[in-house]
Symmetry: C2
Subunit: 460 residues, 2 copies
């Protein structure tokens, strides 16, 4: 038979010296531009350009023939240039900051091994790693014989949790669905993450099935309003897990060992690249009972090894990316002690900022009592100071954050998120997340000075 063998590359492709040279050049570019320059205080956090400008500035086009390695390096250089430097010490936007070098190294290895997590057969080392880490995390939470897996983000894990709660309350739903059944309600704090609403729609409950439970002035659920609660309190928020690593602050998570499940986002607070979200359950078998649908073509029982390591049926995904190595490697590199210290350090810095904000008239904390590493505040420009705080006055305060944010983005000096507060007529406030261990006290001083510089001449 005649076969076209132009593509019949007998030589292993990664031995090609040109490929190796190119990958070495990409590595140097990443180190120099994305990491060293990208995390330097001399560099802008963002070099802003509008969408239509970026469509022109980036060399996006794809031709019929190959692009030269040189032009490709230039194209990547531009992508780095116009990307937000999320590892910059002055990047405070929601909801992560700081990139641990060991975790980054783990992610590069993961990409090169390109492993799918459905069976032990194709992912032996990664599945053993995941098992090790899940057991360790269950131990930290206080689940004696728990189980879990990593998944693509906190919202997705919240969906898994809602699905488990539904299965737990009525296993028949797995077969019959929700049709004709009695309405099931989801009870969530009125400040709860919007993934609960998205999940309610996605999983067939509908938005009308979400009951919002009132919160107190510190944003905590009111127990009185929650007497009829059933499900929502069974999940801890994906953001607070870090406190468990701190000897000093883990008491804030007391009781978490009585929960049914926990979603823990390691890409927040721990400097692990997106996404690294662990879903942990107290009841060992519920994940498989709830999610298994018997796909024999992947999970054959007639294998010669311990098939309990074929964990694909623990989730609703089929292919699943290996998110565990970057977490394990970061943790192993730094040790338990440093991670706990990082959490303590973030709290100390947040308290430093909150205390300093309290001492001036130009800043006001949204929640006066200091609570966590999430500091929320308004900037009150001189033109609004000493005035009666009428609804009109608050409406003007709400316009301040977007204007200052525009200023900081256009100058690229720093990035801080803002958002409206629903129980205050949707008045925007700044929300700064302190979690990057490489953010200094001087950076926090800079935040206040820069907001004041950008905002003091605003007129309403």
């Amino acid at each position: 038979m005649s076969t076209d063998t132009t593509m019949d590359t007998a030589a292993p492709y990664y031995e090609d010296p040109r490929i190796r040279h190119f990958l070495d050049n990409i590595h140097s570019l990443i180190i120099d531009e994305a990491l060293v320059r990208g995390s330097s205080r001399e560099t802008k956090v963002v070099e802003f350009a509008h969408p239509h400008e970026l469509h022109e500035k980036l060399n996006l086009s794809i031709g019929d023939s190959p692009e030269s390695d040189e032009k490709l390096l230039d194209a990547v250089r531009d992508v780095i240039r116009y990307s937000v430097k999320t590892s910059h010490p002055r990047f405070f936007n929601q909801l992560y900051s700081g990139l641990d070098p060991y975790s980054l190294a783990g992610s590069w290895v993961t990409e090169a091994l390109n492993t799918n997590m459905h069976t032990f057969e194709v992912a032996p080392a990664f599945i053993v790693l995941e098992k090790y880490m899940i057991q360790m995390l269950c131990g930290i939470i206080g689940y004696k014989d728990g189980n879990g897996l990593f998944g693509p983000g906190g919202s997705f894990l919240n969906f898994l949790a809602i699905n488990l709660a539904r299965y737990h309350s009525n296993p028949d739903v797995k077969w019959s669905g929700l049709f004709g059944g009695k309405r099931m309600m989801l009870y969530a704090s009125e400040e709860a993450h919007y993934s609960i609403t998205k999940g309610a729609v996605f999983l067939g409950f509908g938005m009308d099935s979400v009951v919002r439970v009132k919160t107190d002035k510190n944003g905590r659920m009111c127990p009185k309003d929650l007497e009829e609660k059933i499900e929502a309190d069974k999940q801890a928020a994906a953001w607070g897990g870090g406190a468990l690593l701190s000897a000093k602050y883990k008491h804030l998570m007391t009781g978490v060992e009585r929960s049914d499940s926990v979603a823990w986002n390691f890409h927040k607070m721990s400097g692990v690249p997106l996404q690294c979200s662990a879903f942990l359950v107290q009841e060992k078998d519920i994940l498989e009972k709830c999610n298994k649908v018997n796909a024999e073509y992947l999970f054959q029982p007639d294998k010669f090894y311990d098939v309990s390591y074929d964990i694909g049926d623990k989730t609703v995904q089929c292919g699943r990316k290996a998110d565990v190595l970057k977490l394990w490697f970061m943790w192993k590199a730094n040790g338990n002690k440093v991670l706990g210290e990082r959490v303590d350090d973030a709290w100390r810095k947040a308290k430093y900022l909150a205390d300093k904000l309290c001492k001036t008239d130009r800043f006001r904390l949204v929640i006066p009592e200091f609570q966590c590493t999430n500091v929320c505040f308004w900037y009150i420009p001189p033109c609004l100071q000493g005035k009666e705080e009428t609804p009109e006055w608050w409406s003007k305060v709400g316009k301040v954050a977007p204007l200052i944010k525009e200023g900081m983005i256009k100058e690229g000096s720093m990035m801080i998120g803002y958002q409206p507060l629903s129980n205050k007529g949707y008045v925007n406030f700044f929300r700064i997340i302190i979690e990057n261990p490489w953010c200094s006290y001087a950076d926090l001083d800079f935040v206040m000075e820069e907001i004041d510089r950008l905002g003091k001449n605003l007129e309403f």
Copy 2:
């Protein structure tokens, strides 16, 4: 105020020469061990160890204090050693193989920039890139004014598609849920991917709502059996998209432009690292209409740039990993022409193998007519040849693949998936996926020789 400034690292962390040295060493280790050695025919596809052995062989433990860089490099070396070499030319397990060096480079850049895809503000370059690629992919499919996004895997995209179909048939479900409503049915081929069943459970339809439509002997849906079909045929399978890139084979996807949505897994057939799954819809606004729940804290309307680039509400995720750069970079590097040629090359090689399998008594194709790059076959060992093909005989044939698979894994010579065929009493057959451009004709000859070597002395 007194602050502990031991962690107040004024120097940018990636400037630390020790960090740079470590990342350079990791890069060399990846190139040498995971890529060059990992894709060499001299190397085993897998160095098999049982789970309990791996728990000992891998240096898993995490201490209180930091681990030395030297020991960390050794730990990673072990992870690479015991991982399956998915970029090896003799890795044929489902459902991907071959790792494009440019795409790998793109994934490393993505990890270093650590970008979240919810708003243009935090992901300017990546959102423009995604928009460019989605428009290009919609063009290839034939959607004139389509839309889309990348998401974590084909199963998840199938869930999105089912959710859209539900919204399309009855938008009220977004608010009311499925309670009290008339049962909705999901019509899927009896050979359809198990994610349809998982999705039916997850989205609240229940497994009983999945109707399996009969297939013909080639695994295609029987139109006669499908007269009552409503939804299931609205989705193309996530695996076949590659054919659209080939001038020669794109006719096989004729009619795809009349579909409502397409899920396209670029980690299959294109050598892009996991996960890279594009979800494309014909109706421009339906993603947002269906999935939006108004999270003002992320998607503030009072921004100074074109907020239509804040695309977070197009999906049910909140944080979303940037999966686009690795695809774009691979495509830009190779050009349209090479990608089309890769597809043609895979078909040629699959036909070469199928033709060769037909010519011997020891192999038999499951589907006699050659159909695509997915070649399914049985190995009939000498002891079973020339016998009457009774149910007992078939049951023995079904035991062959697991035994040969055990042999190839233990020797690490290659990896090919097998699975049971439901309409043949669950008899296991081999399923080889040809898509790695660096797999040669000689590798396919090796596959047949190696199966024969491992299987010819089996006795039943």
